[in-house]
């Protein structure tokens, strides 16, 4: 086995580590802890945070790529590796990859969804439903479900119990843990059930070429989360640096930055993104040495897309930050600091940026859900992520044609819908709560 991290893997993991370390460091500050406590005092926030964590976990699990060695009888020979990269998630779901069917089948079905022409040895032609290759008989669904249910309850109960045990003896927090436990329990039971049945059924059906939709929906999580998270990574420093400098320095710096973001934001964003994505296609075609495999290629395209989305979406936040900075720099304590001879950098670090945190946090959570939705739209226009990549946008795009089939192929659209909806909904609900707590206007 050889670890072959993609660029996006490195970025998402380093971002994760940075956020964790920074969070731990911030948690020492009493004021910040108080804010987070206030945020999590809502049951809805607890539940949505649990779901968000679940998505993040899947995305992280799916962001460690490695290659397996080619099995070779000759132990002396140099080891070669499969070109196909895999992730822990792939290993977990290996059976769903290997048990691919020929074409469409409905969730839990035992035969194909459409009839095929079969010529039997006597030369007679019939049109009938072919049986699926990798499924059980269909009779054991209930019994297996019950077992899975017990397992799920056991695992969920055990983990919740462990957490309760760990929490005992520490100061009682007024957080509504029951909501998180409930969400967690439901999630675990559901996933255990789906996972255990996925060994002998296609729990969410299969697509046109027999690929398992359960697998695809889970793989799409990485794409959605990555677009949401990494775009912020690009947009945030840009908006912060430019916004604060514009507000603080004024003069020609302010003019130049204002000019830049007015110009960028006045171009219809879809056109700008489409143009950018097409450009990057040309660049990638001209530089085939950048990548060796389809995955590296689609990863690069994802990064480019993230970059372009970041470039087009920083303007809104930048405008907010500039306005806020202007307001802050008029305030007494800043003018006082100036009078005491504190340098501009000092002012920026000590007085401006900490007071911008609420704006940044609100817009980060809010943008996240918007970006996940944008991905689907761009795939429809034809400038989204690489078509070989699993993403909800690609799933929906393909489902457009499937909806016209008679009888209708509804499961892949439904799966994309549910997975996307859950993520966006929890992000929206969470951002609502963040906004409620942090927005100074909402102080009650």
């Amino acid at each position: 086995m050889k670890l072959t991290l993609l660029w996006s893997d490195i970025l998402i993991w380093s971002l994760f580590v940075v956020v964790v370390v920074w969070g731990a460091w911030l948690a020492r500050v009493e004021q910040v802890r108080g804010i987070w406590h206030r945020i999590f005092r809502s049951a809805v926030a607890m539940a949505s945070a649990t779901i968000l964590l679940f998505y993040l976990l899947v995305a992280l699990l799916d962001s460690v790529h490695f290659r397996l060695a080619v099995a070779s009888s000759d132990a002396q020979a140099t080891r070669h590796y499969h070109a196909q990269m895999q992730t822990p998630l792939d290993r977990l779901l290996l059976h769903t990859i290997e048990q691919s069917e020929r074409t469409y089948s409905a969730p839990f079905a035992t035969q194909e969804y459409t009839r095929s022409i079969v010529v039997d040895p006597t030369g007679k032609t019939t049109q009938r439903y072919l049986p699926l290759v990798h499924v059980g008989s269909g009779e054991d669904i209930v019994s297996r479900s019950l077992i899975a249910l017990l397992w799920g309850l056991g695992i969920a109960g055990g983990m919740i119990g462990l957490h309760l045990l760990w929490g005992r003896g520490r100061e009682a927090t007024p957080l509504p843990w029951w909501s998180a436990y409930l969400t967690f329990g439901v999630l675990v039971v559901l996933m255990v059930w789906l996972y255990s049945l996925s060994h002998s059924y296609h729990v969410f059906g299969t697509d046109k070429v027999g690929g398992d939709i359960f697998y695809q929906s889970l793989k799409s999580i990485r794409t959605g989360v990555l677009i949401g998270v990494l775009t912020t990574l690009i947009m945030l420093p840009l908006a912060l640096i430019l916004g604060v400098s514009a507000g603080l320095f004024g003069g020609w710096v302010d003019d130049a930055i204002q000019y830049l973001y007015t110009t960028l934001s006045s171009i219809p964003s879809v056109l700008l993104i489409a143009g950018g994505v097409l450009v990057m296609g040309v660049m990638m075609d001209n530089n085939p040495q950048w990548f060796e495999t389809t995955q590296e290629r689609s990863d690069l395209r994802l990064l480019f897309l993230v970059g372009i989305l970041g470039l087009t979406s920083w303007t809104g936040l930048c405008r907010l930050i500039r306005a806020e900075t202007l307001k802050l720099s008029q305030l007494d304590f800043v003018t006082a600091a100036k009078a005491f001879g504190v340098g501009r950098w000092g002012i920026m670090r000590r007085h401006i940026i900490p007071n911008l945190m609420h704006i940044i946090l609100i817009s980060v959570v809010l943008d996240f859900s918007g970006l996940v939705l944008t991905e689907a739209l761009l795939s429809y226009v034809g400038v989204g992520v690489d078509p070989t990549m699993y993403s909800w946008g690609n799933m929906i795009n393909q489902a457009r044609l499937e909806m016209a089939q008679e009888p209708m192929v509804w499961w892949s659209l439904l799966c994309a819908f549910v997975f996307m909806f859950l993520l966006v909904l929890s992000a929206n609900l969470f951002s609502d709560r963040v906004q409620k707590v942090l927005d100074p206007r909402n102080k009650v």
Binding site: T263, L264, S266, I267, P268, L271, L272, L413, N428, L429
Partner: protein
Amino acid sequence: MIGYIIRRILYAIPILIGVNLITFILFFMINSPDDMARAQLGAKQVTPELIASWKAERGYDRPLFFNETVEGIAQVGDTLFVQESLKLFLFEFGLSDSHRDIGADIQRRMAPSLAIALPTFLIALLTNISLALLLVLFRGSVFDTTMMVVAVMIMSISGLFYIIIGQLLLSKLWHWVPISGYQSGWEGVKFVLLPILIGVVAGIGSGVRWYRSIFLEQIHQDYIRTARAKGLSELRVLFWHLLPNGMLPILTGVVVVIPSLFMGSLVMESFFGIPGLGSYTIDAINAQDFAIVKAMVFLGSVLYIVGLILTDISYTLFDPRVSLS
């Protein structure tokens, strides 16, 4: 006032130049004139001579930014960038790669775009404001919280779902409206009903939330308390006092999108086969018609900038606190 407007318009010119520069770089990197020629002349049999003559005919054989073959100002002037940009500023969009006059096409396609965008905008504004008022009226009740959760749910669904499901139910199963198509005049109403409905429904979540928060900000103001103290019914308070005051931030907030309504909706138009500017843009992106995309980018930016100017003006008109400095 007039001087202020003129100043704002002058300020828009460098922005437009910047816009031009960005799109020009983008589209000439993607698509060298050679590519355009090949795409236009068809796949079957293309020769270098054909490509050269095609480029020469459109003036695409000029250098991009700097012309070394000529003297003086023409070194900058006789370049593809300057020539193309100059024409844009005069709103001369020229011929598309399929030999059609873009200006004429844009004029013709504005009406269908507006036929969808304008009613969607107005009906959405009306529904969202009434719903927001309703929620404010029942604030804090079960109705309010349920509707707020519903609003977040509506926001969390991708617009593509609304279109797919709407077409399936209303057109295919229930035969209420044609599946797609367009017709001008009154008989064309049946074509735009569904796109408008979908547009309104898809935007209801964010709209209602925003307007509700605006109204709620107002409700703690003194004038509302005074009105209540006078013993007015809650409905009266809402309609006579809250609504007019709340309309101010709403109107100044939405003014910026009004000019952009002309651009139409990309996805909606191509799903419903409406011959507006949105589908024109998507087709141009797919066909890589540089001239059309450039024209649309320019138009979109101009309309957005007009929206900004209108916003500024409406602020100064309605909000006494902002001065014309």
